[in-house]
Symmetry: C2
Subunit: 208 residues, 2 copies
DNA sequence: AAATATATTGAACACTGTTCAATTTCAAAT
DNA sequence: ATTTGAAATTGAACAGTGTTCAATATATTT
């Protein structure tokens, strides 16, 4: 039955069309300005079509979230995978996270700030697997730092992972939400990375 | 001219009426569900009245932001003001910040996450003075820790203040936005505070 | 009592997410 | 070739949103 397969392909094509139009609008105009009607107009379909492919708007945004995780966060871990030194890898991951976060504020919001994505997961009674996966990579890296002798053996990887994640998330989100303007710095981003490096040296010193 | 003063009082009374109704709805239903019409209905006025007192919705939310800062953040610094030991004061401030943030997620969003407040300030070409004030208190506290011998003299208070702020903001915002559910902990809040204490001990050890 | 100034209204505009009966499209069965 | 049935698609409708503004009501001054 090749016909059913073709139909399924056509269905998926429309879904992809919706998603890429949504992504374009979302990146250009942000969460607040991404409307069902704008997406529908862009792909020259009726607004109703979107509800044949997604339960609601949150569900559509969750699909964008998934794509962002797939493309970017996984790429981040891949890009440092070849670094043999676990501590250097840990440091580079954080720097890459910050850089990605400030370069892609819309995606970052979707993944780590907006409630709609977590609500869409809750409706489907699903777990935030993308997030869990990323944190596991981080914890694994911390364990490797312990095994390599960089970190004491009596530390708790869960706690350290939360400290590291909170630090970089704090930096990115305060920056993206314009809260760092109160630091009258000539180069705000350089100030962030400098502070992150200080943080890293504190980690290294106190955990060794 | 007592009449003009009375008129001004009446104007302010309506403004306060709007603000307290807005605050009630905002706290109960959150940012997304706080509408001009809901506020107007609650105080039994026409929707248009709000625009006699506020430029737009962002401006109204900025007024709520100001109140939240006035009531809570200033209270936080006051509550620790009497602690003679600067390091203990610094630690307590962070703990108080986290506690306030997770106890008052709506206010926290208004102050440190939402863009609407910073946009309202930008329109008025104003500076985020509330934020700057709070960070200055923090920096002052860090300087006192240096003077008391807790911290090395060669550290940069700006960088350390950003590290401290990012850490607690990261914890609160990840928690409030449901991102910490991936840590399958029996008591998530206890895990946060435990991690914060580990962070503090790291700070203390590495900066001394 | 008339004129002025201010406060307040509520309809209108252009949007929003979502639903659903009606329509179109198209492959399968007769 | 025509009917049947199922799927895809539509677009109007509903209830909501922020915002504007001419019209109205209220209160003060002349």
């Amino acid at each position: 039955m090749g016909i059913n397969e073709r139909k399924e392909r056509e269905r998926d094509a429309v879904k992809d069309l919706i998603l890429s139009a949504a992504r374009e609008i979302f990146l250009a105009e942000g969460y607040e300005n991404t409307s069902i009607r704008k997406i529908a107009t862009k792909i020259e379909y009726s607004p109703g079509i979107i509800y044949n492919h997604f339960k609601d708007k949150n569900d559509l945004l969750l699909a964008l979230h998934d794509k962002a995780f797939e493309c970017k966060i996984e790429a981040l871990f891949l890009s440092v995978q070849n670094m043999p030194d676990p501590l250097e890898r840990l440091k580079a991951t954080g720097r890459g996270y910050i850089q990605y976060g400030i370069d892609n504020p819309q995606d970052y919001e979707l993944m780590f700030i907006l409630s709609c994505t977590m609500e869409a997961l809750a409706v489907k009674e699903e777990f935030w697997q993308d997030g869990a996966m990323a944190i596991n990579m981080l914890k694994q890296n911390i364990v490797e730092c312990m095994e390599a002798g960089y970190f004491r053996k009596d530390i708790n990887p869960d706690e350290i992972s939360l400290i590291l994640w909170s630090q970089v998330h704090g930096l990115v989100s305060l920056h993206n939400k314009e809260r760092l303007n109160i630091y009258a710095m000539e180069d705000q981003k350089a100030f962030m990375f400098r502070s992150y490096d200080v943080f890293l040296s504190m980690i290294q010193k106190s955990l060794s």
